[in-house]
């Protein structure tokens, strides 16, 4: 599906990193980040994405959709990074689109054990993730 069809606007900013690509949809107040390679989920890359969002967001707080369709290996501290206060101060709602069974179980771990402080949900497809993050429902 074309991103324009789903998000109903063209991204105003698109930036590629060596591990993924990020789009910004300002009318929806959404950043969409997608991993494009098999890699580890580490704080350094997560910080790069977070920093990019903060520097480019029109509003102080934004919504973030992270698409994880490649083979990704969580590192020890990544869950705490995702749930860190400095990050929560900038993110209104967050959703992860997870495809692999391993990552879905890791997602269960994040939701149940780390208990994210901002509204967070996991989906297996992007339209469902978009609908939730764009709704008023938490």
């Amino acid at each position: 599906m074309e991103l324009f069809t789903l998000y109903n606007e063209k991204p105003t900013i698109t930036k590629s990193f060596d591990f993924g690509i990020i789009h910004y949809f300002p009318a929806n107040n959404i950043f969409r980040f997608e991993f494009t390679i098999n890699t580890e989920l580490n704080n350094e890359d997560a910080f790069t994405v977070f920093n990019f969002c903060n520097s480019n967001s029109i509003l102080p707080k934004y919504k973030l959709i992270t698409i994880m369709k490649t083979k990704l290996t969580p590192t020890k501290d990544i869950y705490d990074f995702y749930n860190a206060e400095f990050r929560n101060n900038h993110i209104l709602k967050e959703t992860f689109v997870l495809v692999s069974a391993t990552l879905k179980v890791a997602g269960n771990f994040y939701l149940r054990v780390k208990k994210p402080k901002i509204p967070t949900k996991i989906f297996n497809n992007e339209p469902a993730a978009f609908n939730w993050i764009n709704s008023e429902f938490l």
Partner: protein
């Protein structure tokens, strides 16, 4: 996260004996309860554990002759037991893709751990590193 209650369900009493030792070393202050009969666990869950206000960790053997680990979870769900405090680590002798795929459908399952368990494996599983 610290668990005050850790439950072991495994049909093999020898495995339970060994795993109990490891878990008590891992979490010395936790109450460790074990069941070699999965149906007894289900009864006890209804009566006691479902009323817990604290998180409970369940180490659940996936391959038991009487009932598979996944079927046990389904029975609890079908009976509409309150599983909100129950975090489950699936204990298995081999990580099969089909099991992993199935596990991902149950939101209470937070990880996998291979037999025989040890402290490193527990640490890893409870850090979200599967």
């Amino acid at each position: 996260m610290k668990y005050n209650t850790i439950i072991l369900v495994d049909d093999n009493p020898t495995t339970i004996f060994y795993h109990k030792d490891v878990v008590s070393e891992f979490e010395p202050n936790a109450d460790i309860v074990s069941f070699d009969n999965p149906y007894k666990f289900i009864d006890e869950f209804k009566q006691t554990f479902s009323k817990s206000t604290e998180p409970i960790l369940l180490l659940l053997d996936i391959n038991m002759p009487e009932i598979r680990g996944f079927e046990l979870i389904e029975l609890l769900e079908e009976n509409e037991e309150d599983m909100s405090k129950l975090d489950i680590l699936i204990v298995t002798s081999s990580k099969l893709n089909s099991d992993l795929e199935k596990a991902s459908r149950y939101p209470n399952i937070i990880g996998f751990i291979e037999k025989p368990i040890d402290i490193d494996k527990l640490n890893k599983a409870l850090s979200g590193l599967n």
